[in-house]
């Protein structure tokens, strides 16, 4: 009798532990937001949100300090647009090739190669970008420095591609086989089938793939900090140094005084980043659900 009661108690305890672990992921998301607010909100006692987001100058250590993050937002935007322009067409084409055209024995090695690209730490990609791509861009465009928004875009494109390829590939593979068979039976070539039937049917999944790739680029920190030159001014072209939201946090947190306005401003940038990626991931998730139905 006792052992049965003990076993029931144990079962009850384990089930509660399992439920608790399920709740934890929700708790962590809430905690991240609360702690960003807790440390960052004090900035808005002295500064309006509009001045923070649309302020044109970021001079955190001058007196009085200026905390306008418009140059940083535009820096992030420019680098991200450039990276998307490179990685989206290449990534989608590669996903179509791997799932529709590549011979079977090539598929697995290609997928493994893409997984390895995704696995390379961002600081290593940044290091390679800084030391090989930077000098090349400097001499190709006759610039005073090779660390520019363009360098950042190219480097980050390689970090977005694995995400785009693998998620787009899942969406393409999920397209029912009958679609392809029907198209081929109607006399379409393999390419016509791939482009007009399969790619169209997989579109919601591809949209999600692109959004998640862009989410990764906006949040990327180390590589972008190493290759974009870090000048917190409103960018005028791809060929000048820029500074992104993420790089600003990483570069300046060490110099800020804990609890001071600069410290709070960096956490406030964290809030902005959290909200941006939250929206991107939420919408991408909606598209993923649509592609599964």
């Amino acid at each position: 009798m006792k052992s049965i009661r003990f076993r029931k108690l144990k079962e009850w305890g384990i089930e509660k532990a399992i439920l608790l672990s399920g709740i934890f992921s929700v708790v962590f998301v809430v905690l991240i937001f609360l702690f960003l607010l807790r440390e960052g909100f004090s900035l808005f006692r002295g500064e309006s949100i509009v001045d923070f987001i649309f302020g044109k100058s970021w001079y955190p250590i001058s007196s009085p300090p200026r905390f306008g993050i418009l140059p940083l937002i535009l820096g992030s935007l420019l680098v991200t647009l450039g990276a998307a322009a490179i990685s989206v067409p290449i990534g989608i084409a590669a996903a179509l090739y791997i799932s529709e055209i590549a011979p079977r024995r090539l598929k697995e090695p290609l997928k493994a190669g893409i997984e390895l690209l995704a696995a390379i730490p961002s600081v290593v990609i940044g290091f390679i970008g800084m030391i090989t791509l930077g000098p090349w861009i400097k001499s190709a465009f006759h610039l005073p420095t090779g660390l520019t928004a363009l360098t950042g875009s190219v480097t980050l494109a390689f970090m977005a591609m694995p995400t785009i390829v693998s998620i787009a590939e899942d969406a393409i593979t999920a397209v029912p086989r009958q679609y392809r068979e029907a198209a081929i039976a109607m006399g379409a070539t393999q390419w016509q089938t791939t482009w007009r039937i399969v790619a169209r049917a997989a579109r919601p999944g591809m949209v999600a793939a692109v959004m998640l790739g862009i989410g990764r680029v906006i949040g990327e920190t180390m590589a972008v900090m190493m290759v974009t030159g870090n000048a917190a001014v409103i960018p005028r072209s791809f060929l000048q140094p820029v500074r992104t939201l993420t790089a600003t946090i990483a570069a300046e947190m060490g110099e800020s005084v804990q609890g001071g306005p600069h410290y709070a401003a960096l956490f406030a940038i964290g809030i902005v980043l959290f909200i941006i990626t939250f929206l991107i991931n939420g919408v991408a998730d909606l598209y993923l659900h649509r592609s599964r139905q």
Binding site: K10, L36, E39, Y97, A119, I120, T189, Q190, A250, N281
Partner: protein
């Protein structure tokens, strides 16, 4: 245009795109191995840095990264596997399980530097752990949680339903069924996720910037409340912050970090493909 010609051109374009994604991996590997191999020696791997990092080895950074990764895994694996068990075995498709899934998606999308801010706010400041291995490990652990949960979920979902039905019909309780009839078959998938999580935690820099990483600390940590050097941060420091470091030392450090991460990922790929080959159902 002739459809056959169009197909040929399209295939050539797509093949080029695929090579553009895959070849950089090889190029990066070749560059780093070619320029960094000369720096690798027993002394480089197993001795302390000297003279402001211009001489000596990178042992404290290697050991620091191992400690951080170990701590992150100890925290994230039990929590992540149990969360996956909840989602697959216990929850029904209601608003709460959808909320949990959405949270996991969002945890996966939070930028790494924001995890760094979070770790600074909660572990370093609020819980007063200071900049320490404990703070860094917990921060990395929360960051890799989505990786662990997602692969454990896939592994559990791939176990056929009748395994559970048979076990339950023989009078086993719900947990006994999971423990003896489901988890053993999901183990390779869970292991794959764990190794991928290890690789991810080993390579990340931004989450440890403000929570643990020391710029230059030529001694080994004594407890979980000590700061430590770490490989990815060390590579960042010697390639951007400290002038006059020999080029092959920079490439050598990148080579050690890259080897560690890629070996872990290769191991995960191998475990997964062996598992696929062995599956009997």
């Amino acid at each position: 245009m002739n459809p056959r010609l169009a197909q040929k051109i399209a295939h050539a374009v797509m093949l080029t795109a695929t090579l553009l994604v895959v070849l950089p991996v090889l190029v990066i590997l070749v560059i780093i191995v070619a320029k960094g191999a000369s720096a690798i020696s027993w002394d480089f791997l197993f001795s302390m840095p000297r003279d402001g990092m211009t001489a000596g080895g990178i042992f404290p950074a290697i050991l620091g990264t191992l400690y951080l990764v170990l701590g992150a895994i100890l925290f994230a694996v039990p929590l992540g596997v149990l969360a996956a068990v909840y989602l697959v075995e216990y929850s029904s498709d209601n608003w709460f399980s959808r909320l949990v899934k959405l949270s996991i998606v969002n945890l996966a999308g939070v930028p790494s530097v924001v995890y760094g801010l979070f770790g600074l706010g909660i572990f370093v400041t609020f819980f007063r752990f200071g900049a320490s291995i404990l703070s860094g490990s917990l921060t990395l652990g929360i960051m890799i949680l989505p990786v662990i949960i997602t692969s454990a979920r896939e592994a559990l979902e791939s176990v056929p339903r009748h395994f559970r039905v048979v076990s339950l019909s023989l009078g086993a309780s719900r947990w006994q069924t999971i423990r003896h009839s489901v988890l053993p078959h999901a183990l390779p998938g869970i292991l794959t996720g764990m190794i991928l999580g290890l690789g991810r935690a080993a390579g990340e820099t931004a989450p440890i910037l403000f929570t643990v990483a020391a710029f230059y600390l030529p001694r080994l940590p004594h407890s979980v409340f000590d700061q430590t050097m770490a490989l990815p941060y060390h590579l960042y420091v010697i390639s951007t912050q400290v002038p006059g470091i020999a080029e092959n030392v920079r490439y050598g450090t990148a080579l050690v970090l890259l080897s560690l991460v890629l070996l872990l990922n290769l191991a995960a790929i191998l475990v997964r493909s062996r598992f696929r080959g062995k599956k009997k159902w």
